[in-house]
């Protein structure tokens, strides 16, 4: 298999990349290449121009900024995996990232590539939804920020104009004593999840939930926040019976049928994995309190 013929551009800064995007017809941005390159090899995409971002300066960083993590679009998944800052401030992202592909793909794959490719079951996409991330975008008319909730506009389609590129994302961190869990079911280690559940919890001194975030990936065209369940969790004391009551209605979420699993199976996974993720998050709050 060979990629189709295209013209190749390797700009050195964001302004030049934006300029190329705005002036070239049928151009594709190449980040880590772990999704675009297979699509080129199989000729699922036929761009006239490939704009390679790998030599663009200044898009590779992980920094702590006012209680949030700012991560550059070209930051390798490997660097997120081994970042102490991520592990400490955003343990959900750490737990998710080791389930992204394999060592060889995380060494190349990037945050921005994953968010823009927007596979419905991609772990980083779910993490961005779970944490209410904001994505930073550069375009001809300057920079703007988009709430991640509004970023997926359709199946694998980000809310970017044709001449815009994602430069990074900001992930608000939860307070130190929160609980987190990212659990997924896939056929093989490293595969995209059939369904994933990302849970974040805060509890008061009496063990009642004061804040909850629950995100399901793999059900539909983009991850969904289980808002009804999040509301039901507030004030609840986590236990097996209460979690079953809260998670059972997740079976009614819309889900897709495909070659990997029927919708009913995904809905079953949504209830089971949500329960497991919330329980794990709850247990981690207790473990942190003991530590």
């Amino acid at each position: 298999m060979k990629p189709p013929a295209f013209s190749y551009h390797d700009p050195r800064n964001v302004a030049d990349a934006v300029g190329l995007l705005g002036s070239l017809d049928n151009a594709k941005l190449l980040a880590g290449g772990q999704s675009l390159m297979p699509m080129l090899n199989m000729r699922y995409v036929l761009p006239d121009h490939v704009i390679d971002l790998n030599r663009v300066e200044g898009l590779d960083y992980i920094r702590d900024s006012n209680g949030a993590l700012e991560i550059g679009a070209m930051t390798r998944q490997r660097d997120i995996e081994f970042s102490d800052l991520v592990r400490r401030r955003c343990p959900l992202m750490h737990e998710a990232i080791v389930q992204v592909g394999h060592r060889q793909t995380r060494n190349r794959g990037t945050l921005g590539g994953s968010l823009c490719h927007l596979d419905p079951a991609a772990e980083l996409v779910s993490v961005a939804a779970a944490l209410d991330a904001k994505v930073a975008v550069a375009g001809k008319n300057g920079a703007r920020s988009i709430d991640f909730a509004a970023f997926p506009v359709a199946y694998m389609t980000p809310a970017l104009e044709f001449d815009e590129l994602l430069t990074g994302a900001t992930f608000p961190c939860w307070p130190e004593r929160h609980g987190h869990a990212f659990v997924e079911f896939s056929r093989r280690h490293g595969d995209f999840a059939i369904v994933s559940a990302a849970a974040l919890l805060e509890e008061d001194g009496a063990g009642k939930v004061t804040r909850a975030s629950l995100t399901l990936g793999g059900l539909g065209p983009a991850p969904v926040r289980a808002r009804d369940a999040e509301r039901a969790l507030i004030g609840a004391t986590i236990g097996d019976k209460r979690l079953r009551e809260i998670c059972e209605p997740l079976r009614k979420l819309d889900a897709v049928d495909d070659i990997h699993a029927p919708a009913s199976y995904r809905q079953q996974l949504a209830t089971v994995l949500s329960r497991r993720a919330l329980l794990k998050a709850h247990e981690r709050i207790a473990a942190r309190a003991r530590a």
Binding site: K2, P3, F6, G101
Partner: protein, 160 residues
């Protein structure tokens, strides 16, 4: 004619200069232009891991990179693991002694992956090895000898 670019790449310690079509994958460059056919191509879409090389010391799938992206970078292929043509690397010896090659198709990708793994984690558990090579498919479907060889190699490389 498709667009060409001049590149300079260091492969297994040797510098190569070439003009390449911009759409040429790194795997095809290594195999067809440099004749380094030890790097195998199985799926050509990033699933099987047979084409794994080390790119600036980090494992990567060479079917998912363009040769132009390697300009100015350092690559190691399976041919670069042994220090010379007569002496096997301890990792290769362990694979030979434990019958870890089997048909041999996936071996180049597994060896390059393990060079990185054992560099970063000289004393891995069996689980570490199994997760580490989970991106490398063996269609002889026998990972037992591969895992045994990797654990044996770790021991030899620690000098135990």
């Amino acid at each position: 004619m498709s667009e060409q670019r001049a590149i300079a790449v260091t492969v297994n310690g040797k510098r190569h200069e070439a003009a390449v079509p911009v759409r040429l994958t790194l795997a095809d460059f290594l195999r067809h232009r440099l004749g380094l056919t030890g790097t195998h191509l199985g799926c050509e879409h990033g699933v099987c891991g047979a084409c794994t090389i080390l790119f600036d010391g980090y494992s990567a799938r060479s079917c998912l990179m363009l040769a132009v992206q390697a300009d100015g970078h350092d690559i190691m292929t399976v041919e670069g693991i042994a220090t010379d043509a007569k002496t096997l690397h301890p990792l290769q010896e362990a694979f030979r002694d434990n019958h870890g090659l089997q048909c041999g198709f996936c071996t180049p990708g597994i060896l390059t992956t393990l060079i990185e793994l054992l560099r970063d984690n000289p004393d891995p558990t069996e689980a570490d090895i199994r997760i580490g090579i989970s991106g490398n498919l063996c269609r002889c479907t026998g990972y037992h000898n591969i895992v045994a060889a990797a654990l044996d190699a770790a021991k030899r490389m620690r000098g135990a």
